[in-house]
Amino acid sequence: MIRPASSLARRAATASSARRTLATTARRCENLPKSTSPIVSKLNFFNSVTGDGTQIPTYRVLDGSGKPLEGAEVPEIDEAFATRMYENMMLLPALDNVLYNVQRQGKISFYMTSYGEEATIIGSAAALDMEDEVLGQYREMGVLLWRGFGLDNVMAQCFGTSEDASSKGRQMPVHFGSPQHHFHTISSPLATQIPQAAGVGYALKRDPARRSKHIAACYFGEGAASEGDFHAGLLLASTIPSPTLFLARNNGFAISTPSTEQFFGDGIAARGPGYGIDTLRVDGNDVLAVLSAVRAARQRCLTQGRAVLVEAMTYRVGHHSTSDDSYAYRSRGEVEERKRVDDPSGRFRRFLEARGWWGEEREKEARERAKKGVMEAFRRAEGVGRGELGGLFEDVYEGEQPWNLVEQREELGRLLRKYGKAWGPWKNELGKFRGEGRDVMGGEGKSA
């Protein structure tokens, strides 16, 4: 700006520039700094994600009798894919039936069934890529079944045999893991996998071989979503961002705590927009809706490179675990009613039959095959037995073993040599290990 020569001109220039500054300032006050939030003069509290006070809607494709809803788009699937989905939805409860009873018989220490959630788990598993990294909570064995983990591996982990590659006998049943199947090992603390999934997603993004190809898919229940880790994980995956798909299994219960006592807001889906991420609520008992939803969510996740949230509404038909009797806090009637009104497998079966892809003969055959496969794997696992006792001390550290672990292993060896035959509890237990503890008692040949 050229400086005016005379003082009059100077004063005029100052006045006009002052006017300009005032106008600009007034414009700038229309919005807060760094924000496009509109300014309003009416005091108006809001309390709805949908903007009109209604709850977030639930996406559904098939009605209760397996018929596509008016206007619904049935996802692209062929007979092979659809029947594969259905057979996995059959295999899961077949496996649950056997292992639940096996626990009751005292042959395994613990078990968790997935009754009622078959559509949520198989539908979402089928929508993911086989190499998407899955981080689960504990009720996602169906993902492993879909991915071909196999019944022998399931049994090995539940029985803690020498073939337990998931945990080498160190974890309670259902704590599966498999790098080959891109399924991160389950851990008991709830929700810890959520921020970890954000990191897994970021690693995928940073890997030129996997960027824009694979996502991290994180499962958790509506109870676990109350943990601070949920907030941390969604915050990170939405902000950094990382291509992580968050799948909330809202099955109505966290052990005995109904969801009405778990949160006051509109479920888990209401939280998504809080993090600025694309969110969808889906009928978790409609396997085709779940398939569609997760396929679409996965695609968004990949293109945006950012978190996406899907809340699957379902119902936990079974008890929380073998340590729980859910009839202590809900009526049998409620459970039976739910099973009758909304059986995810039955619903899908009717869809398949309408397509001519399934029938009574196939049903009988598939059911028998599933049961047979499970029983075979179970009987086989019963005969495998545990690994060596020395596995107790391995894998704490990689590399040179710290002196305390070396000495503690020797100490146990000394105690076993001295008391192993005389002390009942130890004597009985040693027999379960290959080598009966000789690898620890031996003194020489201590494995690192």
Binding site: R170, P179, P195, Q196, A198, A203, A232, L236, D395
Partner: protein
């Protein structure tokens, strides 16, 4: 041993000034050497630091990680303080390992302690980036990346704020390899955090939480005392196949300055370092108290006029073996045992409180292994079992005089 006479002192002063001048002419990269006699050495004047290139290159245990293609004269060093050395280590890690990333609160602009200065500019925002304010998220995110084989270098802004990450670090990071039967691991996770008192930090900028994590078997914990140590141990930690918590004494970020080798080198984890050899008493510590211990040894040898009457002549000649533990988990039991078997006396110094502190673990093991060789009970000099109160800090954090007192008590038991 008698303190030098005033004549002797004048001579000594003259000699050292001469040495000073010679050093300055011969080696222009030298840091100011400490003034001779009479002063209480603080960190800035500590003899334990390596202010010259020669001294730096002679750091015991250095493992060079690249070919020495330096020109005539050998490897180069550069004057660095602790935060610059930490930064240097991370720059090397980022340069050599494409999967390496650095993240945490405020790391992008350089970090609240400047440990990440210029790294975002140099390596890009995809590799050096801010996270939202969530320690449990930072730790979990790092665990996720490391589980995929990426080198995740996380920063927790102050050790006082590491507790929300405790579940992720102790229940997850420490146990992933074991619980998965070695099918997954997070060895590539390193969590760095500023620790210990700074003089004006109060309850929440002064804590030393290493004791809480010492029980997290599966983790490693490392605490460096100087720039060279920080760089070498941090590179060692980043590359160690186990998750490591790296705690950097914040008061040393600026005040500890050394000539630090600019090349890629590592120092060993799990190994203590004998800083001053001795035979009458073993003094074990780590981090900031290393310098209070050095001061204590000086006070013991040549107390000031005011202190002379309080320090019995019989102890002034004592040769105290000063050991920097460096790694808290696993801790170098063998070096301490070997030392105490010779000296028969042990004093442990740490800023954290006495109960449940690292000193209690060391004391327990040493009394077990050196029981018959001990001539006095194992003595701990620690912060009080109280939160660190701002205006009381000088009476809370163990300083040189408390170490002196403990040494005297232990020597005269």
């Amino acid at each position: 041993m008698h303190p030098p006479s005033s004549t002797a002192r004048r001579v000594l002063n003259g000699l050292s000034k001469h040495r000073l001048a010679f050093q300055r002419r011969a080696n222009s990269t030298a840091v100011e050497p400490p003034p001779a006699g009479g002063h209480l050495p603080g960190v800035a004047t500590s003899q334990l630091l390596r202010p010259t290139r020669d001294a730096a290159l002679r750091t015991p245990g250095i493992k060079w990680k690249d070919e020495d293609n330096s020109t005539l004269g050998g490897r180069e060093t550069r004057k660095m303080n602790t935060y610059q050395a930490v930064r240097d280590a991370m720059a090397i890690a980022l340069a050599k390992d494409d999967t390496a990333v650095v993240f945490g609160e405020d790391v992008a602009f350089g970090g609240v302690f400047r440990c990440t200065m210029g790294l975002a500019e140099e390596f890009g925002k995809e590799r050096v980036f801010n996270t939202p304010l969530t320690e449990q998220g930072i730790a979990g995110f790092g665990i996720g990346m490391a589980s995929m084989g990426h080198t995740a270098i996380a920063e927790i802004q102050f050790a006082d704020y590491i507790f929300p990450a405790f579940d992720q670090l102790v229940n997850e990071a420490a146990k992933i390899r074991y619980r998965s039967g070695n099918s997954f691991n997070v060895g590539k996770l390193t969590v760095r955090t500023p620790t210990m008192a700074v003089g004006h930090g109060g309850l929440y900028h002064s804590q030393s939480p290493e004791g809480f994590f010492m029980a997290g078997s599966g983790l490693k914990i490392v605490i460096p005392r100087s720039p060279i140590q920080a760089k070498g141990l941090l590179l060692g930690a980043i590359r160690d196949p186990n998750p490591v918590i790296f705690m950097e004494p914040k008061i040393l970020y600026r005040s500890a300055v050394e000539q630090v080798p600019i090349d890629d080198f590592e120092l060993p984890l799990g190994k203590a370092e004998v800083l001053v050899p001795g035979e009458d008493l073993t003094l074990v510590t780590w981090g900031t108290p290393v310098y209070h211990c050095e001061t204590a040894l000086h006070v013991l040898r040549s107390p000031s006029e005011e202190l002379e009457s309080l320090i019995p002549a019989s102890v002034r000649g004592a040769k105290v073996e000063l050991i920097d533990l460096r790694s808290i988990l696993p801790w170098d039991m063998e070096t301490i045992v070997e030392s105490v078997n010779r000296t028969g006396r042990l004093v442990i110094v740490h800023e954290a409180g006495a109960i449940g502190g690292v000193g209690s673990e060391i004391a327990s093991e040493i009394q077990k292994r050196c029981f018959l060789k001990l001539n006095a009970p194992v003595r701990r000099v620690t912060g009080w079992d109280i939160p660190v109160g701002l205006t009381y800090e000088k009476f809370h954090i163990p300083d040189a005089i408390r170490v002196v007192d403990a040494i005297i008590e232990t020597l005269t038991y």
